[in-house]
């Protein structure tokens, strides 16, 4: 497909929706951090990252997704190498060794790994899976998704590690896994849970228990959940207005510029703002479904649907966390939370959707 034709069928809607969401994120970050000492310029950094991410998105769109699929395993391998490098030479922030310092900026290879995992699983499904998924396919796909999970879990960043799980499950589901096998995998997961529980750190256990009992330890782990609910609830219908959110600006709500950015939006723009964000997310994810349905081949369908599950999974976990339905595990909200690597990776994901959608007509 040549340039002009790509331009004619380019899926601009998806890009615009993604940029809208990112812009709302920048606004909320600005409101939450602008008058905090030493953090005045954070929102500018987010704008710069957004520009970079848009550029990366364009690069992803330009190259036919079959081209990306051809190098999927190579790219995935590269991401795994970076994850190993991080473990060996990464920068530790808040107890997690997740950051790779490049000059003065830090990047999170785990975010890139989400993108390559989607690509690699989609490629595997399209090439290998002919007649549903048997045990062998499940295991091989488990390896593709499991390696980054294991490496990220060693950082140890449980929240990020967990975001790979919906991608893997979605891949099994879409690949036509037999219900029995899917149930078996789920049962295995449930059986393994106590072992996983034993390996969790105390603070992680506290976070999970807090969901079950919100009044538990209101000054400690429960604090964040409680403050998030206060921030959201106090926004009421119309919100307190831009720059008037006391919960975030006076620092009552921890991580208000990252994991809890949606609480800031809900506080300052109210129920209307929260609904607008949810609505935009629906449009974005619906665009994934459109791309999947109209894709010229299975590869395109799989890519679109896996990206959908990646973003949808993160949205589900993050919003659930903000509303106090899920444990506080550090999962950012795609496109809105502050963080350059995540924004870059997400925009690359959006790039894949646009890529598939724009090439829906077979030559």
């Amino acid at each position: 497909m040549n340039g002009p034709r790509l331009l004619r069928s380019l899926d601009l809607t998806t890009v615009v929706v993604a940029l809208l969401l990112a812009a709302i994120g920048v606004l909320a970050i600005a409101s939450a951090t602008m008058d905090q000492e030493g953090r005045e310029n954070l929102w500018w950094w987010q704008v710069i990252w957004l520009a970079l991410a848009l550029l990366a998105c364009l690069v992803v769109v330009t190259v036919d997704y079959h081209g990306w699929a051809a190098f999927a395993l190579v790219l995935h391998g590269l991401a795994l190498v970076l994850l190993i490098v991080v473990l060996l030479a990464g920068r530790e922030v808040g107890g997690n060794r997740s950051w790779l310092a490049v000059g003065s900026v830090s990047v999170q290879p785990s975010e890139l790994a989400k993108w390559t995992t989607c690509l690699a699983l989609a490629t595997y499904l399209a090439r290998r899976v002919r007649a549903g998924i048997g045990l062998r396919e499940a295991v091989e796909m488990g390896l593709i998704a499991g390696l980054p999970v294991g490496l990220v879990a060693m950082q140890p960043d449980m929240g990020t590690a967990l975001t790979f799980v919906p991608i893997y499950l979605a891949a099994l589901f879409l690949g036509g896994v037999r219900w029995k096998l899917l149930v078996a995998v789920l049962i295995l997961g449930v059986l393994l849970a106590p072992i996983g529980w034993a390996h969790l750190k105390d603070y992680q256990k506290e976070r999970i228990l807090t969901v079950l009992d919100p009044e538990r330890d209101p000054a400690g782990v429960g604090y964040q959940v409680r403050q998030s609910k206060i921030a959201v609830g106090s926004g009421r219908i119309a919100g307190k207005g831009f720059g008037n959110g006391t919960q975030s600006r006076l620092n009552f709500l921890p991580a208000h510029d990252t994991d809890f950015i949606l609480a800031v939006i809900a506080e300052e723009f109210g129920f209307v703002g929260a609904l607008a964000v949810l609505g935009l997310f629906y449009v974005l994810l619906f665009r994934c479904i459109l791309a999947a349905r109209s894709a010229q081949d299975r590869l395109g369908t799989y890519i679109s649907l896996l990206v959908l599950c990646w973003l949808g999974g993160q949205i589900a976990v993050n919003v659930g966390m903000v509303l106090g339905y899920l444990p506080t595990i550090g999962v950012p909200l795609p496109l809105l939370s502050r963080g350059g690597s995540a924004l870059l990776a997400t925009m690359c994901g959006v790039g894949l959707i646009v890529n598939v959608r724009s090439r829906r007509f077979v030559n």
């Binding site: 106090s234 926004g235 479904i289 299975r298 649907l305 589900a316």
Partner: protein, 639 residues
Amino acid sequence: MTLMDYRERWELKEYRYSQRLRRRILVLHAALLALLVGYGLGFYYLQVVRGDEYALLAENNRLRRVPLPPMRGTIFDRNGEVLASTRPSMNLVLRREGLREADAQLRRLEGVLGVPYATLRARLDRMRDRPPFEPLVIREDVSLWEVAKIESRREWFPSVEVEQVPLRSYPAGPAVAHVIGYVGEVSEAQLATQGPEGPLQPGDLVGKTGIERALDERLRGQRGWKLVTVNSLGRQFGEARIGQEPVNGAPLRTTLDVRLQRALVEALGEEAGAGVFMDPRTGGILALASTPAFDPNLFASPVTPDSWRSLVEDPRRPLHDRAIASFYAPGSTFKVILSVAGVETGTISPAAVRYCSGSIVLYGRPFLCWKKGGHGAVDLERALVHSCNVYFYQLGKALGIEAIARYADLFNLGRPTGVELPGESGGVLPGPEWKRKRTGEPWYAGETISVSIGQGVLAVTPLQMATMISAVATGGFLPRPHVCADVAPAPVKLPLADDTLGLVRRALQQVVEAGTGRRAALGPIPVAGKTGTAQVFKRSAGIDADELPKHERDHAWFVGYAPADRPEIAFAVVVEHGGHGGTAAAPIARRVLEVFFADRLPEREPSPALIAAAAFARSDPAPAAERRGGGHERAAPSP
């Protein structure tokens, strides 16, 4: 199977697979919609259904009610001299909200200020159950120098702050320790008593003893509050909004004279004892002191456990106010009561003469006079002047215990005087009924003989004695002792004949001029008084009094008033284990009187007390103006 068949089957399979994929996409879409709608409902519930509730919680988060402590009222003496005042001081506190790296900060504090880490850690741990906005006080009343040491290392101490607090100070120190008292944080018990609607809150300062406690409500004032916007670390953010201004405590003017307080405490010196000086006409207390004293400034800030323990465990009990809470046998000073009772009841005629041979046998038992050779022939006046025991043994025997007790009670002995000060004791006024209740035994006639000379179980406080002698001085008007200058309880007229007290007063003047109280004589100012010696149980019998161990010596009393003809000041002084009243207690009274009458006494060799008083007068900024309002005609020279 043909190629067509194969192709058909493949296409069928492909078709089925596509159908299944399509179904699964539909499932995904449905799940996505369900999720987003569910979350939308979640936002609806939090923001619309429970929005107002959370809005209130957010306000409570942001706004903090900060108490504004009132300034406690200043306490003045009768001349406008400050006895207790409140000044702003600075405390170093550790904010417990958002406290991180507590250990590191505490260790640095040890390095910079020398406050031991272990102490701070223990105090911090003890505060675990307190609300988090209550800071830990690291050090009270710090100097600017210490503040500078912290401020210059700001980044080491993110949670350390300087807090302004009112601090109580007592410029006269130990001289007014017992009568003024001290303040401290309100106790749990007091908070419990006032109930939940009471004005006091934890951490409030209240008077613990003395005037500070007696007039606490008046001095305390009312706390106010302000609303402060704070961030999550509790640091103020933006302007505060005053909710209610505090109402400062009212100033209090007392009847005390700090110069007399100083002279009294100085004169008591190292002795354990007490003195009460009052205006006999009004009952206004001029000086009330107990030794050993303590420095009330020690209590201005919560005391360190060490200094507190040393005060509480001191066997000499410096915290105890001997002037109102200790009671002693009155000794010979009680002969004043017997004299009045004897004349009033007509038991004796003042002119009737008895013979003192140095001892008398009553109820088959010898009772001794203090003078071995005896006083010879004595009438009432001579018996009082020379404190003849034998005369009063006989008078007491003739009066009987009921009559003695009746007159003692008339003069308010053996029961509290009702002064405002907390912790006043009643003492003991014994009698048959009292003894039956206490021991179940009958009253023995021999006990009446002991009581006749003020010994035995009879016990009175120095304040009661000062009140009693005031009534003698004023010719039968029993004053009601008080320390507040703005109350003037009327004296009680005692039902006594004028002649009776006239005779006693003549005798008491003789006591100082020619009798046992000569050491209280004050040149041109006639002084009247009576010495007393309260017997202390002695293990070492037969030893000369001066060689007795200190704790077995008798308590020395001196009570009296001056000028003898127109009394302006009445007093009672007791010195524990001082020995004779005339030698131990009378000189102490005189040194206070010297200060009281300083401007009426000729320039002689000044006593140390006079020098101190003179130095004090020079530093007094507005003595004349204050004195005019004092209600006490000090400047008028006596004729």
